[in-house]
Amino acid sequence: MAAKVDYKLIVGLEIHVHLATKSKMFCGCELVYGGSPNSRVCPVCLGMPGSLPVMNKQAYEFAVLTATALNCQIARLTKWDRKNYYYPDLPKNYQITQYDLPLSHDGFIEIPLEDGTIKRIGIIRAHLEEDAGKNTHEMGNFSAVDLNRAGAPLLEIVTAPDLNSPAEVRLMAQELQRIVRYLGVSEADMQKGHMRFEPNVNLHIYKEGQTYKTPICEIKNLNSFRAIERSVTYEVQRQLEEFLETGKTMQMGNKRTYGWDDVHQVTVLQREKEESHDYRYFPEPDLVPVELNDIWLEQIKSRLGELPLQKQQRFIGQYGLSHYDAAVLTADKATAQYFEAVVQAGADAKRACNLITQTGQKLANQNNTTVDKLGISPQNMAKLAQMTDKGQISTSAAAQIMAAIVGKDTNPEQIAKAENLLQTSDAGAIEALVNQVLAENADAVKEIVSKGKKAQKAVGFLMGQIIQKSKGQANPKIVSEILNRKLAQLPGQS
């Protein structure tokens, strides 16, 4: 292990988001996940001779909407460029992208950190481009190319190097996912490849009054948030060790690319020196520029809605929720909206939160859906909350009832009655039972009063007896209160 060295981690993130349009960026082929190979292609996305691209309006509007949510400057005039390189998954051997006049630039995103504070991360630019197809190497010593994905619309977002810990990188990624899902511009499922993250990592190492910058390393092939965080953590160590061994520092053109090996949990060098790709960018002659006027921009902006962090902070303020609870509830828009509907229908915010995030989430997972789609109306969820609050049912009974009404939306009161789950909090009735049990169990009482070894157990026993006598309907909290009060009043108790 190397000697303790002072350093700062610098990470910028490059993100590619698959926009959820129905058709591709420049042609009408359908976008489907997992279709049979080369079944969603046409002369345009196949790059056949004589084919021409035509821009998907929805993709542009999704991109502008996202850029607005990221507080970017939106370009009133934007254009397309060609990025030229050769690869079998790139049928034209150039990618249509945006180079010097991107649709947006200079924005920021605020990410909630785990300690509840907010950190601002700069966004350098966000622009549109088309995706390439897929190469499969697993079939033998050749590559099999499927162009179904070629031409899919991608929003490329580049952040400023403002991230300073592996956790921050992960949180940034998660927040971006949350935002694009809220906006409805992308499904953003990492496993399906809807969102690709490439951290660009280097260290500023402080040694004997000097600052040394290690070469920037780009990490690819990350398929989960966990992988994002772990790969950055790994890179920190690797770069530290490498620097201490070789003293290599950041130079023009010595940026390297590493792939994350999830099996061995290490980064693996993919290219020694970036054969400085000369992409020969030039304006795309087959597409005309886009001019965005005020009216159109306002139309797009009007679809923004409340953004997740906004909603999260409002939940804290308006409903008195903890940072953690607010974060969980606003993880997806539908759940957050459902929560508010439940509160509107009369539930206490904290109780509603618990019901939704605990049992509700568990049931949602079991049914492979989300809480709002369990088929339980906000009214009935609110009823459940109220019944629990009033002590009419225990929390475990509430869970049981919720499970029973999934998909049926039956009134919880009905279920409670039918399943005999109603508990009484009637102090008078309970007191009568307590008295009865105390009278019937003199030995136990004696044990408690004399503070014998089995006193605790005896209390538990008496509790059990009372609950049994009540046919499970006595509110245990009330029972405990009354029992302990009565025991305390007995002679011999001090």
Binding site: T21, K22, S23, C27, G28, C29, E30, S36, P37, N38, S39, R40, V41, C42, P43, L46, V54, M55, N56, K57, Q58, A59, Y60, K83, Y85, Y86, Y87, P88, D89, L90, Q95, A132, N135, T136, H137, M139, G140, N141, F142, S143, A144, V145, D146, L147, K220, T257, G259, Q270, R271, H277, D278, R280, P283, P285, L287, V288, P289, V290, E291
Partner: protein
Amino acid sequence: MSQNINRQQVEKVAHLSRLDLTEQELELFSGQLSAIVEYIQKLNELKTDDVEPLAHCLPIHNVFRQDTVRPSLNVEKALENAPDRVDDFFKVPQILEESGA
């Protein structure tokens, strides 16, 4: 602006263009391209500091299509011209490194 294009540059450009040229071709093209590039220096006779580049002749902006799905090609049609295929994939010799992007 360089006055010319030399043999080394021609080789580099041939590689960038993915053209595996013969020695004779490299010799021949170096000379010919050199003469052409030299001729193109003519453009330097014109002062263009205050001139906008004209990439598009047409005065049109905002050409879009609606986000509607249109029929794709039948997979057999899509692969009909493929020099080599395996099942429904295009087949190429193994790619040894990651994407160029």
